[in-house]
């Protein structure tokens, strides 16, 4: 039992004054700046921080894949720079991109890594059986790894790293791009490993995951900003976090209003209203009709508290700077009513089907989106949300059914009709070797903007999205957050009525995500209809309406609270969106299995 183990003389991983820099163009860029770190044996340590903080570099150094520029990396007391390869059996490492051979089957991948780890055949067979059971990948043994869903790939990647039960397990963003169900399964595996005494170091972008760790290391610009147990982060915030409710105002508008009040460091939409983090020693800036309830601080609050010094651009700016000359037709929905029924329908989908050969990706989907709404498409990997999305944008023809976007079928739409939509693709598809300015100019011209109007819009975009300082930087070299801003700026140059966002926040750090949602909120407030797909269940709370998809079919639709209500059980009276998601999908899949 790990608890009875005598104190280990050497910690599993120790960084002593580690510097690491990389050559980028002519400059040397520091990724880690004299980092000292010591992991506690048998614990799960979470690595958090904004993009570019040095998380991946740290993990690669620990895995021996990089050599520190100066300083020492010790694995169980052994300097890895001295004897390369020796420590490898003790370490399991899963890179961000799984490291799977996509054209090999699940079983073949496991066989390969068993041999590489030097397991003898009988040992390998038994271990593989255990791992297949643990990851529930047993039935997929002969499927090619490339044909697995994102969550299954992660589980297989993890299984490959676990073949020779490692003493130290390094995981680089193991849950990125994974739906809530697979995420829950992955965490169960990781928690199980802790029981066996394995030390785990993982990087993550999810705050709720951070809270499940035994220790958290917060990285910022190659330095450790803070580290300790999760409660070490949250305790100082006692009394500064509140849950705010308003009887009539929509949560988005409440959030927007709260965000702008003095002393408010952060305001986030959550299941029960808006969560507010106040600065130190500030009285709650309460307004009429609002109900403020003290809430226990969470890690997310601590993170925001530490990084709030970098404020996002106030969304009011966008609305304010929209000058009269190019005002988009605004039909601001009444701020006081929660309903949207009386406004016009902008997107109408009826009995939509899409088949690829024998495979039905989307079946009989119907929904309607109203003007000025933020509409969310939720679902696990392979649920059919991206397919639905692509059909709406006119990138895929439907096999059956009808769909109207702004009154026309996008598939057959004229250029004028297409000029009414904006689109941000997954992974921010921009021209990587064109500069920010060149990208903006190109899309302006592609949308037919000319002359003075174009200059005006370009100027506005640069200002709204804070792109001035990046004008001549290639899009590829931008930090992820700026890339996302640029993609959004390009999609909004022509003031579209409808904005399509496909997984626009995946892989982006929490700060950028918060800023992103502020922009989306203010756009919706101006009457822009926004359609989003997302993996992040907390983001679903920002939407007015949701559609939950699984295996190509719509499971449920309605407002976030409607969906949460559906998952209400005697044991769980206030399910979170994530719990609701898991509950609904589990129920649906069980039903399908019973039917077949």
């Amino acid at each position: 039992m790990p608890a009875q183990n005598p104190p280990v003389t050497d910690p599993p991983l120790r960084f002593l004054g580690v510097h690491k820099d990389f050559q980028r163009g002519k400059d040397r860029v520091a990724a880690l700046n004299g980092l000292d770190l010591e992991l506690a044996a048998g614990k799960i340590t979470g690595l958090l921080g904004p993009d570019g903080a040095g998380k991946t570099t740290l993990l690669r150094l620990a895995a021996g894949l990089l050599r520190p520029s100066s300083g020492q990396v010790l694995i169980f007391g052994q300097d890895i720079t001295q004897q390369s390869g020796e420590h490898a059996p003790a370490i399991g490492y899963m890179p961000q991109r799984f490291g799977l051979y996509e054209d090999l089957s699940v079983q073949e991948n496991l066989d390969l890594y068993s041999k590489l780890q030097g397991l003898d055949p009988s040992q390998a067979q038994q271990r593989q059986r255990e791992l297949l059971q643990l990851t529930a990948l047993g039935p997929f043994g002969s499927r090619r790894a490339g044909a697995l869903s994102g969550g299954m790939k992660q589980k297989l990647g993890l299984a490959c790293a676990l073949l020779r039960t490692p003493q130290l397990l390094l995981l680089d963003e193991p849950t990125v791009g994974v739906d809530p169900i697979a995420r829950r399964e992955l965490w169960n595996i990781i928690l199980g490993l802790r029981q066996e005494g394995t030390t785990v170091l993982l990087s993550t972008a999810y705050f709720d995951e951070a809270e499940r760790c035994d220790a958290i290391v917060l990285l910022h610009q190659g330095n450790i900003l803070q580290q300790g147990r999760p409660d070490h982060f949250t305790t100082p915030l006692q009394g500064r976090t509140f849950q705010v409710q308003h009887p009539s105002l929509r949560r988005r508008f409440l959030q927007e209003s709260l965000q702008q009040r003095p002393g408010v460091l952060d305001a986030r939409i959550i299941a029960g209203g808006v969560r507010v983090l106040l600065a130190k020693d500030v009285q709650p800036p309460k307004e009429q009709e609002e109900i403020w309830i003290t809430a226990p601080p969470a890690f997310a609050d601590a993170f925001m508290d530490l990084f709030a010094s970098v404020p996002a651009s106030p969304p009011a700016e966008i609305a304010a700077s929209a000058d009269a000359a190019d005002q988009i037709p605004v039909n601001t929905p009444s701020r006081n009513t929660a309903g949207t029924d009386e406004t016009e329908i902008v997107i109408q989908v009826q009995d939509l089907c899409k088949r690829f050969g024998n495979f039905t990706a989307v079946q009989n989907s119907s929904f309607a989106i109203h003007k000025g709404e933020i509409f969310g498409l939720l679902g696990g990997n392979g649920a059919g949300k991206t397919t639905t999305f692509r059909m709406l944008c006119g990138l895929l023809p439907p096999s059956a059914g009808s769909l109207l976007v702004a009154g026309v079928d996008m598939r057959k739409a004229s250029s004028q009709a297409r000029a009414r939509i904006g689109y941000v693709a997954q992974k921010f598809a921009l021209y990587g070797n064109l500069s920010v300015d060149q990208n903006l100019r190109f899309f302006a011209a592609a949308y037919g903007l000319q002359g003075k109007l174009r200059e005006q819009r370009l100027g506005k975009a640069r200002q709204d999205f804070q792109l001035h300082e990046y004008g001549s930087v290639n899009a590829d070299d931008l930090p992820l957050g700026v890339k996302q801003r640029l993609a959004l700026a390009c999609a909004l140059l022509h003031n579209p009525d409808i904005l399509f966002l496909d997984e626009a926040t995946s892989g982006v750090d929490p700060l950028t995500r918060r800023e992103f949602w502020q922009r989306i909120n203010s756009l919706a407030a101006q009457g822009v209809t926004v359609l989003v797909t997302t993996h992040f269940m907390d983001e679903a709370e920002y939407c007015d309406q949701l559609v939950l998809m699984s295996l190509g079919a719509i499971l449920a639709q309605g407002s976030p609270s409607d969906l949460r209500q559906l998952a209400k059980t005697p044991e769980n009276l206030e399910p979170s969106m994530e719990e609701a998601f898991i509950h609904l999908i589990d129920a649906h899949e069980r039903q399908i299995r019973r039917a077949s």
Binding site: G99, L112, G157
Partner: protein, 371 residues
Amino acid sequence: MNLRRLGGLVQKEFLQIRRDPSAIGIAFFLPLFLLFLFGYGVSLDAHRVPIAVVVDHPTPQTSAFVGELNQSQYFQPLTLPTIHAAQQAVMNRQADGILWLRADFSRQILQGNTASIGILLNGVDANNARIVSGYLQGAWQNWLEQRALGDAAPLIIPVNAKTRIWFNPAVRSRYYLVPGLIAVIMTLIGALLTALVVAREWERGTMEALMASPVTMLEILLGKLIPYFLMGFGGLLLSVALAVWVFGVPLVGSLWLLLFCSSLFLLVALGMGLLISSVARNQFVAGQIAIIVTFLPAFILSGFIFDIQSMPAPIRLLTHIVAARYYVSILQTLFLAGNIWPIILWNSLALFLMALLFLGITLKRSHKRLD
């Protein structure tokens, strides 16, 4: 070195090859395609050359000479009434040249003078023009010999040249193109394919996972070397079989020797491929470099088509670092001339040293690290 790990890597590579159509394409389809293209499509042997014949004043003498052309398999005479029409035919590319027997041709001969036979060739394709003029000279000598026999007149050719072309008496260009092509094919499989598959591991992130496992760099390199060596060997056997049985190229030398030398060359090609992939970590760049530094030189600077002796001195010097040069020499010798040891030994030694050099540099350059 651990044999189980190595076995795992080799097995993985074969599974991938089996599932990846582009690897099979490069290893088997491309060789077939190139062999058939060159075997059937390319020929430097001119035959039935269209030549405009203008006879100003037909006589028995002129028809004897023209008859010489008619009988030759090399020419396709096209009789035209005037020199003007013939010039037009050359301009319109209906004829490659003109044979012009002027009005005084027979008179000069009968008077015992030397008549002139006017030949005008389109010199744009210099090589072809030279070949055609050689054929015409042959026809002229035949005509002189026939006359000497028939009239018992003295043959006025002092030197009686007796030519023997060794190794390829019928002068078939296919006999040297097809063996030479094997060098190009081996380069494609060894260098291009190998560079691409290693770059793919970098691109897909699997190299990172490999390096984090206890595998050593030597095992990773051998894990690539062994499968693609076997692939290349398969491509070689296929090419040799096609060369001998489909294209009828004689294999005079020893098959075993051929296989041995080819193995050496394959090692060089694989070494180049691995070296390229240690520099270029994406498939696009690796492909570009492989084509420029291995494929093109194997084509042009190896003596496969163009004679190395005739190149300018700096380029001739450059050909010494083109591995295909040594291999082409071995191939053409083994196929057509036989086991000529000095040639085989020296060229094999060069290949051996190059293999050592490339594989050595690759091993030295490869670290089990990402930076």
